[in-house]
């Protein structure tokens, strides 16, 4: 036997089957890679829009044998990877028809599977008819024994390491700060850093990542291209939402991070479905308090080097992606519910999310009981600003797209959030808003000012509020949830959006021009509220390095606003206030 793995536990079997089902829903080919430590299954959609990868550790299986040295047939699937320590690892990879694999991996109706085993025998003992066949043997409780041997095609494993890149970036941006003694980091977050860094260093395919020394120097200011955000939240929160979304009704999902809440909305983009008009323009959203989310790191600040444009308001961080694959993916977690946990394996059933800008892929990851599931999904790019998804909630965008778009852009969620925010707002906030130049501009729904206001109380220091200048607070990861209070609500497109917006705006009417003007006048610095003035490692950051890495969420924009407000003497409460866009 070149390879043999068996599962006897029902829960694990369920997890295995479900995983295969989800992979098969993405592509009609599933690729498997076997190493001595794990099996990786992945499939990528033919248009490269989604990639799902499942990693089952060897401990997940009740039996696991991998003997690559015996393989004489189908050796084109063999491959040797050398890790950073110089050890060689043999891998065997192949591609198999997804439909066939699901056919043999499904729960029988009236029977129970006692043992499910996979094997490959490409050794010299292999009979000719079984070369390059995946031998699937299933023993049933009824003692019926089923054996299948679907054909596979040996291939080379060409890993897609986007997830590692994200994690690398995540560590670069947030991780280094995490060890500052001055900050109290959420222990969960620290654990997360440790785990991610371990994963990075252990990965077989990290060469390109680890070798590059261009890890950010501590002093290099963060740029918008460094943006990476991380959220960890309870699986159940997402699942509850997803369970209510019918794939037949909703097309897209929007994930929004506001100052104090995270909102997920499922909606239908098109107002036309079939020949019916506007029948199905629905949306459904769940909003949860950020306090209910696990630890998170949100990329707040970027220097506003981009020309005069600096003054944009921050929008909430908003991402839009397709529901279908996401829903399937979330379903995997359900099958893990009762999976037995081995010592080495982790742990809770949390969902981790990494994302950068709109338009860049979003990474979801779940990890439990020796299985890790990852989903990479493309997100809608905001470039066009006209799209609903455009996250650029900022006034500019809206202005620029005077009409429909803006209105669309204001998804129900936002409205909701706004309204909610308003409730919380204090009078002072209102005042502050009124004072802010933005407000005028920001007649649009999601008023930028909110963000401004959002300065979290925590950010005492944050307030370098100079108009036109952004405060750059040194990016620091504020671990404590308290910090989160800071402006999550703002729209996330920090600086770049401005640029983009400009382009768009050009096309647009006078309105735009005016708006732009206004904006330019009012620049809000992105203050990171480092609770302490960026005392530590990156003193430079304070100066003007806008990197704000707050665990705290998105509110950096708010920070800017906050800064201003702070200047105006607005208290910590402002942070809460900012939301009242309508005001």
């Amino acid at each position: 036997m070149s390879f043999r793995a068996a599962i006897e536990n029902q829960e694990r079997l369920g997890a295995w089957y479900r995983g295969i089902y989800v992979l098969s829903s993405i592509s009609d080919k599933i690729k498997l890679t076997i190493s001595k430590d794990d099996i990786i299954l992945w499939s990528i959609h033919s248009t490269d829009t989604s990639l799902c990868q499942l990693r089952y550790e060897a401990s997940f299986f009740d039996e696991f044998v991998f003997e690559p040295y015996d393989i004489v047939f189908g050796e084109s699937g063999l491959q040797i990877e050398t890790d950073l320590k110089g050890h060689d690892h043999k891998l065997y990879s192949f591609e198999i028809d997804a439909k066939q694999l699901t056919t043999v991996s499904r729960k029988p109706d009236n029977d129970i599977i006692r043992k499910y085993s996979l094997s490959i025998n490409n050794t010299t003992t292999c009979s000719e008819s079984l070369i390059n066949k995946l031998l699937v043997a299933i023993e049933m409780e009824s003692l019926i024994m089923k054996e299948y041997c679907p054909q596979f095609q040996p291939i080379k494993y060409t890993p897609i390491v986007l997830d590692l890149q994200y994690k690398r970036k995540f560590l670069d941006v947030f991780g280094s700060n995490s060890y500052d003694k001055d900050y109290t980091l959420d222990p969960n977050l620290i654990a997360c850093f440790i785990e991610v860094s371990k994963e990075l260093s252990n990965s077989l395919f990290n060469k390109s990542l680890m070798n590059q020394n261009d890890l950010r120097d501590g002093d290099r200011p963060l740029e918008s291209s460094d943006e990476i955000n991380y959220i960890n939240c309870n699986y159940g929160l997402i699942k509850n939402f997803v369970d209510n979304c019918q794939k037949s009704i909703f097309d897209d999902v929007k994930l929004e991070l506001l100052e104090r809440k995270m909102a997920i909305t499922a909606f239908v983009k098109g107002t036309f479905k079939g020949s019916e008009i506007l029948q199905n323009a629905l949306s459904m959203s769940n909003t949860m308090n950020t306090a209910d989310i696990g630890h998170y790191c949100l990329f707040d600040g970027v220097e506003e080097e981009h020309g005069g444009r600096s003054g944009q308001k921050k929008s909430p961080k908003t991402l839009i992606f397709k529901l279908r694959d996401f829903k399937n993916f979330i379903g995997i977690g359900n099958s893990w519910k009762n999976i037995p946990i081995t010592l080495s394996a982790s742990r809770n059933n949390d969902l981790s999310i990494w994302f950068c800008h709109p338009g860049e892929p979003i990474l979801f990851q779940m990890n439990k009981g020796g299985v890790r599931a990852q989903l990479l999904l493309v997100t809608d790019s905001t470039v066009g600003s006209s799209t609903i998804k455009s996250k650029e909630p900022t006034a500019n965008n809206q202005m620029s797209n005077p009409s429909m778009d803006t209105s669309r852009a204001a998804s129900p969620l936002r409205l909701n959030s706004n309204t909610r925010l308003q409730k919380t707002e204090t009078a002072s906030n209102l005042n502050s808003r009124s004072t802010s130049p933005f407000k005028l501009v920001n007649s649009d729904i999601q008023s930028i000012p909110l963000r401004d206001n959002r300065m979290s109380p925590l950010k005492d220091t944050a307030i370098e509020t100079t108009t036109n200048e952004r405060l750059s607070s040194a990016g620091k990861v504020v671990s404590a949830r308290k910090l989160f209070v800071s402006d999550a609500s703002q729209e996330s497109n920090i600086d770049y959006p401005n640029v983009q917006n400009d382009n768009t705006s050009k096309a647009e009417q006078d309105m735009l021009a005016q708006l732009q003007m206004e904006r330019s006048e009012t620049t809000i610095g992105w203050g990171n509220r480092s609770l302490k003035e960026f005392p530590t490692k990156r003193p430079s950051a304070e100066t003007r390095n806008p990197k704000k890495q707050h665990k705290m969420s998105p509110g950096e924009d708010a920070d800017k606003g906050a800064e201003e407000q702070d200047a105006a003497g607005l208290g910590p409460t402002q942070a809460q206030n900012p939301k009242g866009l309508f005001d």
Partner: protein
């Protein structure tokens, strides 16, 4: 007069039986023989597969068969004797629809009376409950006479090659599996060993997946009998596999019948005719599971029990093999099964070692041991066979 009259209250059972005929052509004519023992339904497709289903007269509360002399029809019964009978043709779906509708009446007991007056008269069903009487007449026309002797679709009982008695539910699971994997052709494989421990009865499916094997448990409680003969129905042969090659569509036609079976008897003769006898003993019948639960519950309460002496539905299906396998193909299949056998033996060892350890917790070490042993065996094997390969 020469009128056949029979009445029953077991409509649900009647429906279950008729359902077994549907795979053979729902909208086609079924030939009904009425004789002293009961009603036989016969249906044949393309002269390659034939079903014969007997509803014994014990199912009917009254069964009145006219004097034999009045009818000229004769048929050969199972014992080879000529027997007088009445013959008629009706469409299966007509009959089924009528019965089906009435059997759904769970609030009341419906009595169904069948009458037939001989050639030229309609076949009449009368349904009666406490309030309503319904009468359904089917005109009959005998234009199709399936004569098993003429087309040879009959098992040569003195040339049997293998014989196997297997539990219905297990076989049903296997057949269902065939359907689910999209089987196109299938093979029946049987092999016996003198000790019986290594006997194998398996269904091999050829589908998009390549060859898949479904090995039925070699277990006295499931395979009650598995014997291979030298072609004379008497001399036992061991260690010689027998393979029958069938079109999946043919094999799949027995699935619905197997579903209600308690036992299934497979017999294949040297001419590659497979006969499947299905016996559904009343107490074992899973009476039409798909029926909604409340109905079944009510039924158990209200519907009368089937008569004690009722032997159950008896079905015989005969089919031709798709083609005789040439020796090469046969070898392929044998080779395919051999790869299983070794593995299966291993599993048996594994299981027996496990059962001997019953009370002790199963030590993972042991597990590993078993496998390492087998691995070493295999390695030995490898070294032996290497020269063959190169």
């Amino acid at each position: 007069m020469g009128t056949f009259v029979a009445s029953t209250v077991h409509l649900e059972h009647f429906t279950t039986a008729l359902n077994c005929l549907t795979p053979f052509g729902l909208k086609d004519d079924v030939l009904i023989y009425i004789d002293r023992d009961g009603l036989s339904f016969v249906r044949e497709n393309n002269h390659v597969i034939k079903i014969q289903l007997l509803l014994s007269k014990e199912l009917f509360t009254s069964y009145q068969y006219p004097d034999e002399e009045e009818f000229g029809d004769e048929r050969v019964d199972a014992d080879g004797d000529l027997q007088s009978c009445m013959k008629l043709c009706v469409k299966i779906n007509h009959l089924l629809d009528s019965v089906n509708i009435m059997s759904k009446n769970v609030d009341d007991i419906v009595e169904c009376t069948l009458t037939y007056d001989g050639h030229g008269s309609p076949f009449i069903l009368i349904f009666e409950d406490s309030f309503i009487e319904e009468r359904v007449e089917y005109s009959t026309l005998l234009f199709n006479d399936f004569d098993s002797n003429v087309n040879g679709l009959q098992l040569a009982k003195d040339e049997i090659v293998f014989e196997c008695i297997i539990k219905g539910d297990t076989l049903y699971n296997a057949l269902k599996e065939l359907k689910e994997i999209g089987c196109k052709q299938c093979y029946l494989y049987a092999k016996t060993s003198e000790t019986g421990h290594e006997s194998v009865f398996a269904i091999i499916a050829k589908s998009d997946l390549g060859f898949s094997k479904i090995i039925l448990p070699n277990n006295r409680s499931i395979i009650e009998k598995l014997e291979i003969y030298k072609g004379d129905s008497t001399t036992l042969l061991y260690d010689t596999p027998v393979v029958g090659f069938f079109d999946f569509n043919s094999i799949d036609k027995i699935r619905l019948s197997v579903k209600i079976a308690s036992k299934v008897l497979f017999r294949m003769d040297a001419q590659q005719v497979l006969s499947v006898n299905i016996l559904s003993q009343t107490e074992d019948v899973l009476v039409s599971k798909p029926r909604n639960d409340p109905a079944t519950n009510n039924t158990t309460v209200k519907q009368p029990q089937l008569p004690r002496d009722y032997p159950g539905i008896v079905i015989e299906i005969c089919m031709f093999a798709k083609e005789a396998l040439d020796s090469l193909a046969q070898q392929d299949i044998e080779l395919l099964m051999e790869t299983t056998n070794t593995k299966k033996n291993r599993e048996i060892n594994y299981i027996s070692s496990r059962t001997t350890m019953e009370d002790k917790p199963f030590a993972p070490n042991h597990n590993a041991e078993t496998h390492s042993e087998s691995d070493t065996d295999e390695e030995l094997h490898i070294t032996n066979s290497v020269p063959l390969f190169f």
